[in-house]
Each structure stands twice: as structure tokens, then as C-alpha cells.
């Protein structure tokens, strides 16, 4: 009976699991209206495919060294060959293969950070919204504290404590971005709490956990999904910055930021070694952001910017 009462509200979350086909279709039509978002989504899908199929597509293993072809130029430059389409780095490793495998590393970081902070953010945000003042204040203050320290400085501090590695990069970036999710969930949940369907559910005797996760949460999802999509690109950028500072993924992992740091010494002699990894980061982040913007516009006309 209670489930029936909240159905219309559930249906309002277009495009999420369980939404009727008509809603999904409306969402999709609104999404493809935006050409930038469509291009972004297409590029993201290509990058995802490259990452999944890296072992098949990449011409060589990412860490195989070709001693006879150290710093080979890319195809279009003087002396470029088909053997190494994008050339090789300072240790004679094929750039194309490393970049393709780098997509795997970057997407892995982005998705891990996003999923962990999404789950933790939902739990902490809902807890804050539903608990007594004391717990709410503790959670809110803690998030304020994290946000007071500049993102990269905090990430650097965390990595300095834990030691630089791929896993610790994910931990650090997750902590840095957690407050955004917590605050968003808390604010949307608080806005929902005053509404009648919540009161109806409470009157019907729904338990607190059910009220939190199955009555209120679905109605907070739209902005959260947008935040999650854009959060992936932020995480990729932040992790690449840590890698560039030598505090992220450690060599020989082919992370784009780390590759860029390795290439710095060749900035004069072999400019493409610097150009390519950065371009990979930029293209990935731009596409995710374009798709995320489209997602926001399609999911919630109220948040529409243009």
C-alpha cells in the first residue's frame, strides 16, 4: 500500500532503473537534442571500449622496451614508421600502447572514486539528514573541514601520509570529493523530508531505513547522477595531477599524468612525448563533461543552463 503511494514520485526520476519505457524514451530524446552531449558520449564509449579491449587493441604490451627504437618519432614526423605509430618514449616503450592502457588506468581511477564516494556520500548524507542534530552537525562540520583544505593540497597530504601508489591515489581523491556527494544528498533529502509522501509513509509506519533508502533516496537521485558523471572527470584530472607531481600511480604503470611527468625532461627534444598524454587526459575529461552536462539538461529541465 505504501509502495503504491510513492509510485508517481519514483516515476519522476526519469532514466533511472525501473523507470517506465516512456520516461526513458523522453530522457533519451532530450539527451540527443544536445549535439555536444552526443559527441561526448560517443567519445566516452570509444575510450571505454579501448580500455576494456586494451590487451587486444594495443600493438604491444605497455611496458615492453624496444632498445633499438628509443624515442622513435611518431608516424607523421621525420623518420616516423608504421611500427610505432605514435612513437616511443625515453625507455623505448610504444606510446600508442601505453596511452591505450592508460585509458584503462584513468577510467579505473575515475569509476572507483565515483562509486566509493557515491555509496559513502549516500549513506553519510542520508544519515545526516535523518539523524539527531548532534550527528548531523558532526558530519556537516567534517565535510566543511575537508572542503576548507584546497583539494590538491589535501590529496597531497593524504598521499604523503599513506605513500604514493595507485590505490592511495584513489583513497585520497575519494576523500577530497566525498563532501560534494554528502552535501548534495543531505540537502536533497532535507528538501524531500517536508513533503507529503514522506509523511504518508511515516504515518503508514515505514521503518527508518526503508524511509531513507527506498522512499526518499529515489527522489534525490537525479542531481546525484549528474554529480557522479561529472565526478568521474574531476577524479581523473585530480589523479593525473597527483601522478604528474610524482605522488600518484608509480612507474611503470602507464598512467597519463605519470607519463607526462616522465616526458618532462624531453620537452625540448621530443615534444610529442609531452603532447600526447596530456591530449589523452583533455579529450577524456572534455567528453565526460560534455556528456555529463547533457545528462543534467535531460534529467532535470529545472537545472538546465542554456
Amino acid at each position: 500500500m505504501v509502495a503504491d503511494a510513492q509510485d508517481p514520485a519514483l516515476a519522476a526520476v526519469a532514466g533511472t532503473a525501473g523507470a517506465p519505457p516512456r520516461e526513458l524514451r523522453a530522457f533519451w530524446l532530450a539527451f540527443i537534442e544536445n549535439r555536444g552531449a552526443l559527441i561526448g558520449l560517443a567519445v566516452v564509449l570509444i575510450i571505454v571500449l579501448l580500455a576494456i579491449l586494451a590487451d587486444v587493441i594495443a600493438p604491444y604490451p605497455p611496458n615492453e622496451q624496444f632498445r633499438d627504437a628509443v624515442k622513435a618519432p611518431p608516424l607523421w614526423a621525420d623518420g616516423g614508421t608504421w611500427r610505432f605509430i605514435l612513437g616511443t618514449d625515453g625507455l623505448g616503450r610504444d606510446m600508442l600502447s601505453r596511452l591505450i592502457h592508460g585509458a584503462r588506468v584513468s577510467l579505473f581511477i575515475g569509476l572507483s572514486v565515483m562509486s566509493v564516494s557515491f555509496v559513502l556520500g549516500v549513506v553519510a548524507g542520508l544519515t545526516a539528514a535523518f539523524s539527531s542534530d548532534a550527528i548531523d552537525v558532526v558530519i556537516t562540520r567534517l565535510m566543511d573541514l575537508i572542503m576548507a583544505v584546497p583539494s590538491l593540497v589535501l590529496a597531497i597530504l593524504i598521499v604523503a601520509v599513506l605513500g604514493p601508489s595507485l590505490t592511495n591515489t584513489i583513497v585520497a581523491v575519494t576523500i577530497v570529493y566525498l563532501p560534494r556527494y554528502v552535501r548534495l544528498v543531505r540537502a536533497s533529502a532535507l528538501a524531500e523530508l517536508g513533503k507529503e509522501y514522506v509523511l504518508a509513509a511515516q504515518v503508514a509506519g515505514v521503518g527508518r531505513l526503508r524511509l531513507m533508502f527506498s522512499t526518499v533516496l529515489p527522489n534525490c537521485l537525479a542531481p546525484l547522477i549528474v554529480q557522479a558523471a561529472l565526478g568521474v572527470s574531476d577524479a581523473i584530472l585530480e589523479a593525473a595531477a597527483l601522478g604528474f607531481l610524482g605522488l600518484g600511480a608509480q612507474p611503470p604503470i602507464s598512467e597519463w599524468g605519470t607519463m607526462l611527468a616522465d616526458a618532462r625532461e624531453f620537452i625540448r627534444s621530443n615534444p610529442w612525448l609531452v603532447t600526447l598524454p596530456g591530449l589523452a587526459i583533455l579529450v577524456t575529461v572534455v567528453s565526460i563533461n560534455l556528456a555529463g552536462d547533457g545528462l543534467r539538461d535531460a534529467l532535470d529541465p529545472k537545472m538546465r543552463r542554456s
Binding site: 555536444g36 576548507a148 583544505v149 584546497p150 597530504l157 601520509v161 596530456g278 543552463r305
Partner: protein
């Protein structure tokens, strides 16, 4: 009003204490012994080791160390660098003007170009100009600025030779004692011919790099805020009165559209400090961002601890000021709470 101000200020006190606790714990957890950093890798006698540990207060119980730390912080003592043996606060204050100079120029650049560009895009909504600008804006705020900096060094500085690669001024040609710590002003005060120009040439690339993300954000923000305002009744009224279009846009619309934009500018101090870490590292700009990174590399924990504490306190304070000012401009917020 005073009550509101005091309330907002009081709210930051627990944050400050939590921050002290956080930096204290974090630095204690860092692997490696600070004494070893001080004396080097060579072994020393047990007495010397005990002496150094006592001098750094490491022989005290942890809670005592924390209380001492808070006591010192409240007295403005942010510790002493293990590497240079200087007071952390002194080092910070010496380097900070370089960061302020860079950040101010970056923000000026971002505001001066971002606001008109965004406003124009809103007015010419849907035009090719609007589309190109929004495309550039997405690229701008997606930019890995460490790479952007390297690209600019590669082309503008190395290939075309238009600007120097790093530093704040040509130290071989110009030498003068710092007065304000702001190179542009010091160069001007020194009266040496060409010094100001040289300082400006050193500043231009780092400012562009640090200003790129704020520029993109401000342009986007101005555009969307402007679009909202352009649909308001008072803008229609102004148009109907027959005012010149530039008056309607410049005076009536833009001024109201600026409120959210100004907030965004004020609240971007944290992001600016994060960006400064990368920008200063790339351009060897002797500011606090580069200093923090070097603190990690040299395992200079007191510097790192004090540095994080100082930078974060600054961000908290600026956010507080922005918040309060916002309350002053917009009474609805002040009374809402």
C-alpha cells in the same frame, strides 16, 4: 548584523580546531623519522638521538605533543623547518607574496575576459560565437593545467622565444632587495630600466595557466546568470522604455547577473591555491605551492604541517568574508538563518 557576523565567525572555530587535529595526526602518521631527516642518513649516537628527540618534543606523550602544538599555534608559532631551520611562518610570509601576485593576476585575467565573453554569449545566444565560446569553456575547465603549462612553455617560451621559461625575473640583469615581495611593484620601485617589463614577461604564462580554469568557469557562469536575468520583467521594462541596448545589457542586466558570479569568484580561493601548486611547480615560481611540494620531497614535516594549516586557514577566512559580504549584499540570506 553584528549578531549574524559573530555567529558565522563562531561557526569556524570548531573547524579550526579540527584542522589543527587533522594536520597534527596526519604528520604523525607520515612514515619516516623526522630526526633522521634532520641529521641525515648517517647513524648518530644514542645520546645525540635522544637529545634531538627531546628538542623536537618527540619524547613527550602524544596528547601532550598535541596540546603543545595547539598552544604554539595560538601564539602564532607554526613550527620550525627541519631543513632550513627557519620559522615556518617566516618562510611562508616570504613566499606568499609571490603566490598572491600570481593568483591576483590570474584572477584579473579570468574576470576581465570571462565576464564580457560570457555576457556577449548570453546576448547572442545560439549564435556561432556562443557555440564556439561554450566549446572553449568546456575545454577550459576540463584542462589539465600542468599539461597546458608545459605546452605553453614548449611553444611560446621555447619555440617562439616570446617569454622566459621560469622564475620571476632575470636575476642576472636585475637585482634589487624585495620591499613588498610583489615583483612587479618591487621592480617598479627599484627604478631599473626594463625591470617591470621583464617581471611582467615572467608572469604572463603562469598567470594564463592559473587563470584558465577560473576564466572558463566565470564565462559559463556569467552566461547562464545573464540568460536568467535577461528574461526578467525589469529588463523587459527597460527595453520597453526605449533605452539603448547597451544600457539595458550593461547597466540593468549585467549588474544583477553579477551577484552569483562574484560569489563564485570569492569562493574559488581554494581552487586557486590548488592550481597554484601545479602552476608554481611547472614554472619554478617561488611561491607557497612549490614550497609545499618541496616540503614533501624533503620530508620537512613542520613546514608541511604549518603550510597546510596556514593555507587552509586562509581559505576558511576568505570563505567567511565572502559569506558575510554576501549576507550584506543580499539581506534575504542574513535573515533566512
Amino acid at each position: 548584523m553584528l549578531k549574524y557576523l559573530l555567529r558565522r565567525a563562531a561557526l569556524t572555530v570548531p573547524t579550526f580546531f579540527a584542522l589543527m587535529f587533522l594536520t597534527f595526526i596526519a604528520i604523525r602518521l607520515v612514515p619516516g623519522d623526522p630526526v633522521e631527516v634532520r641529521v641525515g642518513e648517517r647513524g648518530i649516537s644514542a645520546e645525540r638521538l635522544a637529545y634531538f628527540r627531546h628538542e623536537l618534543g618527540l619524547d613527550q606523550p602524544v596528547w601532550k605533543q598535541f596540546l603543545d602544538y595547539v598552544w604554539q599555534l595560538l601564539h602564532g608559532d607554526f613550527g620550525t623547518s627541519l631543513v632550513t631551520n627557519e620559522k615556518v611562518l617566516t618562510e611562508f610570509l616570504t613566499l606568499f607574496p609571490a603566490t598572491i601576485e600570481l593568483a591576483t593576476c590570474a584572477m584579473l585575467l579570468a574576470t576581465l575576459f570571462g565576464i564580457p565573453a560570457g555576457a556577449l554569449a548570453a546576448v547572442k545566444r545560439g549564435s556561432p560565437y556562443d557555440q564556439v565560446l561554450m566549446g572553449l569553456s568546456v575545454t577550459g575547465y576540463s584542462m589539465p593545467i600542468f599539461w597546458w603549462g608545459l605546452l605553453l612553455i614548449m611553444f611560446v617560451a621555447e619555440r617562439w622565444g616570446l617569454t622566459p621559461v621560469s622564475g620571476r625575473i632575470d636575476l642576472i640583469k636585475y637585482y634589487f632587495d624585495p620591499v613588498t615581495g610583489f615583483m612587479l611593484i618591487d621592480a617598479w620601485l627599484s627604478g631599473q630600466k626594463g625591470a617591470v617589463l621583464d617581471a611582467a614577461r615572467h608572469l604572463v604564462l603562469p598567470a594564463i595557466v592559473l587563470g584558465t580554469v577560473p576564466l572558463a568557469v566565470i564565462a559559463r557562469m556569467t552566461r547562464s546568470s545573464m540568460l536568467e536575468v535577461l528574461g526578467e520583467d525589469y529588463v523587459r521594462t527597460a527595453r520597453a522604455k526605449g533605452l539603448a541596448p547597451w544600457r539595458v545589457i550593461g547597466l540593468h542586466a549585467l549588474r544583477n547577473a553579477m551577484i552569483p558570479v562574484v560569489t563564485v569568484i570569492g569562493l574559488s580561493v581554494g581552487a586557486l591555491m590548488a592550481g597554484a601548486v601545479l602552476t608554481e611547480t611547472i614554472f619554478s615560481w617561488p611561491g607557497v605551492g612549490k614550497w609545499l611540494i618541496e616540503g614533501i620531497a624533503r620530508r620537512d614535516y613542520p613546514s608541511l604541517q604549518g603550510g597546510v594549516m596556514l593555507v587552509s586557514s586562509l581559505v576558511i577566512l576568505v570563505n567567511l568574508i565572502v559569506d558575510v559580504l554576501y549576507g550584506v549584499i543580499n539581506p534575504r540570506i542574513r535573515h533566512g538563518r
